[in-house]
């Protein structure tokens, strides 16, 4: 559960400047609070892995025409850590047939439970703390109530769980944000080159809602037993294997092409494969 630090694999998406982290510091004003906000760290992207989705239980005997399922929509940290350090509030936009379809959750755990009968798309908007980002981020999730396997009656014990993994990326975070979360378990912070010293967070910049918050993480959440496990190792393995195969084919083809170029035009490709 220690904070994951990057820097092992050089991302090739860096467009030709791989390995060099340019840190540009813009002019900072006198005010210490503004100082931390205006200094931004280029090429030091901070990412926040999240999982968002729904869990729906069939109500069985207690079900009525209009309320057949009890469901919960939520946004949690991928490792079940507290998102409150980054996310200030989450707004869930429900189907207009609900009362007050715009539901605002001001503190973690960012979730909402309701009863209903219909499936619809829920719009989830993440609002961040001022030193993180002034723009909101929108996610969309389709609420699933009915299981894939339509045979037999629905179980009240086993819910229908749909979760999606994603990462919220902040491409050039402010210094203040970086300071604040550099050791936070929910956040992936890049490894800075040696000699980069950043001071401890300025106490003049308090977070809102810090006092009233109770436990914000979802490690012992009542629904945590249904949470899905997302392991990148699996996909990485598959991808690496696939890449190897493709690369082998490419080498083979290149060899074939060079042979073909040397010889007169053949009507059929060479028939012998390895």
């Amino acid at each position: 559960m220690s904070s994951r630090k990057q820097g092992d694999s050089q991302p090739s998406e860096d467009g030709g400047t791989a390995g060099v982290k340019r840190i540009k510091i813009t002019k900072s004003s006198e005010d210490p609070e503004k100082k931390g906000l205006s200094r931004r760290l280029k090429d030091a992207e901070i990412s926040l892995p999240i999982v968002y989705g729904t869990i729906a239980f069939y109500l069985g005997r207690k079900a009525s025409e209009s309320q057949s399922h009890k469901w919960t929509v939520y946004v949690r940290g991928a490792t079940n850590e507290d998102l409150g350090a980054v996310v200030k509030r989450v707004v869930f936009q429900l189907h207009p047939s609900f009362n007050n379809p715009t539901r605002v959750v001001e503190a973690p755990p960012f979730e909402l439970s309701e009863c209903g009968w219909g499936e619809f798309e829920i719009a989830i908007s993440l609002f961040f703390h001022p030193d993180v980002c002034d723009k909101q981020l929108d996610l969309y999730h389709h609420l699933k109530l009915y299981p894939e396997d339509e045979s037999g009656p629905q179980s009240t014990k086993k819910p229908v769980v749909v979760e999606s993994y994603d990462e919220v990326v902040f491409p050039d975070p402010s210094e203040a944000f970086y300071c604040r979360v550099q050791n936070h378990p929910a956040v992936i912070v890049p490894r800075m080159p040696a000699g980069f010293n950043i001071s401890a967070p300025d106490p003049a910049v308090p977070l809102e809602n810090t006092n009233e918050r109770e436990r914000g993480d979802t490690k012992d959440h009542p629904l945590s037993q249904w949470f899905m496990n997302f392991s990148e190792a699996d996909e990485l393995l598959k991808l690496a294997a696939a890449r190897q195969q493709v690369q082998a084919h490419i080498v083979k083809l290149r060899r074939q092409l060079s042979v073909m170029d040397g010889m007169p035009q053949l009507s059929k490709p060479p028939s012998a494969y390895e």
């Binding site: 467009g15 030709g16 990462e167 491409p171």
Partner: protein, 424 residues
């Protein structure tokens, strides 16, 4: 029909839609009277938008009391300046030849060229670069050739460009017009409203000829740069930041650097044909990549899946729809999710690289078998071997092996089909 009963809709609604349906197909089948079926079919079986020929007139017989003869008679043409008399067949009705001018004389139109007197020339039209003689010659040619400046330029005794001639002619005409008429009257004359701008015209024609003579390579580069510029301006609009000036420079440096790297890397490629296309392809790729990165950076926050989508789109910008489908097919054959289930930074990077590699593989295959055989993008036999090998390797691992076994079964069931397709 039962449904309509249940819904309680009235039944007599049915005949109306049926009628409507039967009417349109009948229209083209019913030919109009007056012309034969085959002739009507020549027009495509539909009535023309504007009746070119009145169909009813075609079958019409001339009234019986008229006696028609055809006679070989002389005629004169009012459009001619000489008195040339030619002969042609004329339809004579009851011994009376048709009157009126030659039918085609009315098409002899010409342009109204303004004529100036010597006085007027002295007063309004003198110009340092033009002598009176030249101007006279110009106007004479203009009249003879109806303002076809290309011909005029060709016939002009001293060499002047088309733009110069046009400029002189239009400015003279405008000056004459404004001198002769009251200023209020001619305000709407196009000569006055939109004066000829010689420098603009020269520039425009030069630009046109440049565009026309661009090579394909040049064209591609231009579209890249334009797309990049567009993206940069769009992202600038989206979020204003102090680092604006850095980004275009960075984006420009990116493609140049990568181009150099690509050239040295590609020196090893065996086939000569692949070399220039590979360079342009990968430089386009790099340019797209750099500009996508730039536009992503302008967003203060984004989702990793969104970023991956953008990069994938940028990478397959040069590929057609079919190629993209084939890439996806290949990914599925390899047992890889089209959209990663766990999109971490590393996974997304690997996914993107894999897609790019598949693209280059498909390009190579296209070169090897250019006949456009779309059946199986991958050589089936080695792939099924690969599937086997992959499964075995995975089972050696501990936890991941279990979940990947589930993924194995679809590809395993596919294998027998693949074998069949390959046995052509």
């Amino acid at each position: 029909m039962d449904a309509k009963d249940i819904l309680g809709l009235p039944k007599n609604q049915l005949p109306i839609p049926q009628e409507k349906k039967s009417r349109p197909p009948k229209e083209p089948q019913r030919k109009p009277d007056g012309i034969s079926r085959e002739v009507y079919a020549l027009t495509g079986g539909l009535a023309p938008l504007m009746p070119s020929v009145d169909a009813s007139q075609l079958r019409r017989h001339p009234p019986p009391d008229e006696k028609i003869t055809w006679q070989w008679l002389p005629f004169t043409n009012s459009a001619r300046k000489d008195d040339l008399q030619l002969f042609h067949w004329v339809r004579v009705v009851n011994g009376v030849p048709p009157t009126g001018d030659y039918a085609f004389a009315k098409y002899n139109k010409s342009v109204n060229i303004i004529k100036y007197t010597d006085e007027e020339y002295e007063k309004y039209l003198t110009d340092p670069t033009w002598t009176k003689e030249e101007t006279d010659q110009l106007f004479d040619l203009c009249e003879r050739f109806d303002l076809r400046f290309i011909v005029i330029a060709d016939r002009f005794p001293s060499s002047r460009t088309v733009e110069e001639l046009k400029d002189r002619y239009y400015s003279v005409s405008r000056a004459l017009l404004s001198a002769r008429a009251a200023p209020g009257d001619i305000a709407n004359d196009p000569l006055v409203k939109e004066p000829y701008n010689m420098s603009q015209e020269v520039e425009r024609k030069r630009a046109l000829s440049m565009v026309l003579s661009q090579t394909k390579h040049q064209e591609r580069k231009d579209t890249e740069v334009l797309a990049e510029a567009k993206r940069i301006t769009e992202s600038r609009m989206a979020a204003k930041g102090p680092e604006e000036s850095e980004l275009p420079v960075a984006a420009n440096i990116g493609p140049e650097n990568s181009q150099r790297a690509v050239v040295s890397g590609d020196a090893v490629t065996p086939s000569n044909a692949t070399l220039p296309s590979a360079i342009t392809a990968s430089s386009t790729l790099m340019a797209d990549n750099a500009s996508t990165l730039a536009s992503l950076r302008m967003l203060r926050v984004y989702l990793r899946t969104y970023a991956l989508d953008q990069m994938v789109q940028a990478a397959s910008a040069s590929a057609g729809h079919r190629t993209i489908k084939r890439v996806e097919q290949t990914l599925q054959e390899l047992g890889v999710n089209l959209k990663p289930k766990v999109p971490t930074k590393a996974v997304c990077a690997e996914h993107l690289e894999l897609r790019k590699e598949i693209l280059s593989l498909l390009n190579l295959q296209k070169q090897r078998t250019p006949r456009g055989d779309q059946d199986r993008p991958f050589m089936p036999d080695p792939l099924s071997f690969g599937g086997d090998r992959f499964g075995k390797r995975d089972q050696k691992r501990k936890a991941p092996g279990r979940s990947s076994e589930a993924a194995q079964s679809p590809s395993q069931s596919k294998r027998p089909r693949k074998m069949k397709a390959s046995d052509i």
